[in-house]
Assembly symmetry: none
Homo-oligomer: 152 residues x 2
């Protein structure tokens, strides 16, 4: 009762025709309607084909069945799109998280590298000292000079 008023005369979903046509207005397509198959639930008995022409199309849209399906689909579409958006946001979030983690790792690497280089230096120094000490333990009596007392 309601939809009829709304769609009755100015409805007939322009989809098929229009969309396609508009996409290629310059094309020489004289395509026909995709011939919807809205199913006829009105009679459980079955009448399946013989769609004389689009006269029933209207009835289809008025059908309670049809409206019900549309509404359900609209809902599903909404849901799907919501998810899609959510997913996109999550992905973006993930990027941010990964970026942060990367920075942390990078910092850690820097730290470890530094630590390592310090230790290596100590080793080198020690080695030198050993060498120097062994050869000339004491040249003039002074102590070996503790060099490289650096670190944290």
């Amino acid at each position: 009762m309601s939809r009829q008023q709304q769609q009755a005369k100015l409805s007939t979903s322009d989809h098929n025709g229009v969309s396609v046509i508009q996409s290629q207005p310059h094309a020489s397509s004289l395509q026909q309607v995709p011939q919807l198959v809205p199913a006829n639930p009105s009679a459980p008995g079955g009448k399946a084909l013989a769609p004389s022409k689009m006269k029933k199309a209207q009835a289809d849209k008025d059908s309670e069945e049809y409206r019900q399906r549309r509404e359900r689909n609209n809902l599903a579409v909404k849901k799907s799109r919501m998810r899609s958006k959510q997913k996109a946001m999550d992905t973006q979030q993930r990027v941010n998280e990964l970026k942060e983690e990367n920075e942390r790792l990078e910092a850690k690497i820097k730290l470890l590298s530094k630590e390592l280089s310090v230790l290596k230096d100590l080793f080198l120094e020690h080695a030198h000292n050993l060498a120097d000490n062994v050869q000339p333990p004491n040249v003039d009596g002074t102590s070996p000079a503790p060099s490289a007392p650096n670190g944290q």
Copy 2:
């Protein structure tokens, strides 16, 4: 020229479909009230009902101007959506890249840590040797260093 032929009778975008929504009385879902404004500046007071005022609306949609605008917008929409999708894909790609980089960094950290621990162990060992004895044989691979200054 072409659109009219296509839409002439079976078009009139049911968009007003929106109105369908609004009027959806029974429906238990979707209430929202978009309160559409059919952009019909020429007719004041609105024509919520009155099936006779439908001619102007039709004229509007048949207008060349209108069709032109629609076509432009459809194009823009397409473009925008394409970009949006592309962006989403890029973001996903970014996630993958960051993940990879992350793994690399993690591996590097592992390596550095190991290296560091080895060096530290050496240090400890050396320290022990120093404490326990005077000059241990060879802890770090370097020459034993003659430890007996006892002369001949």
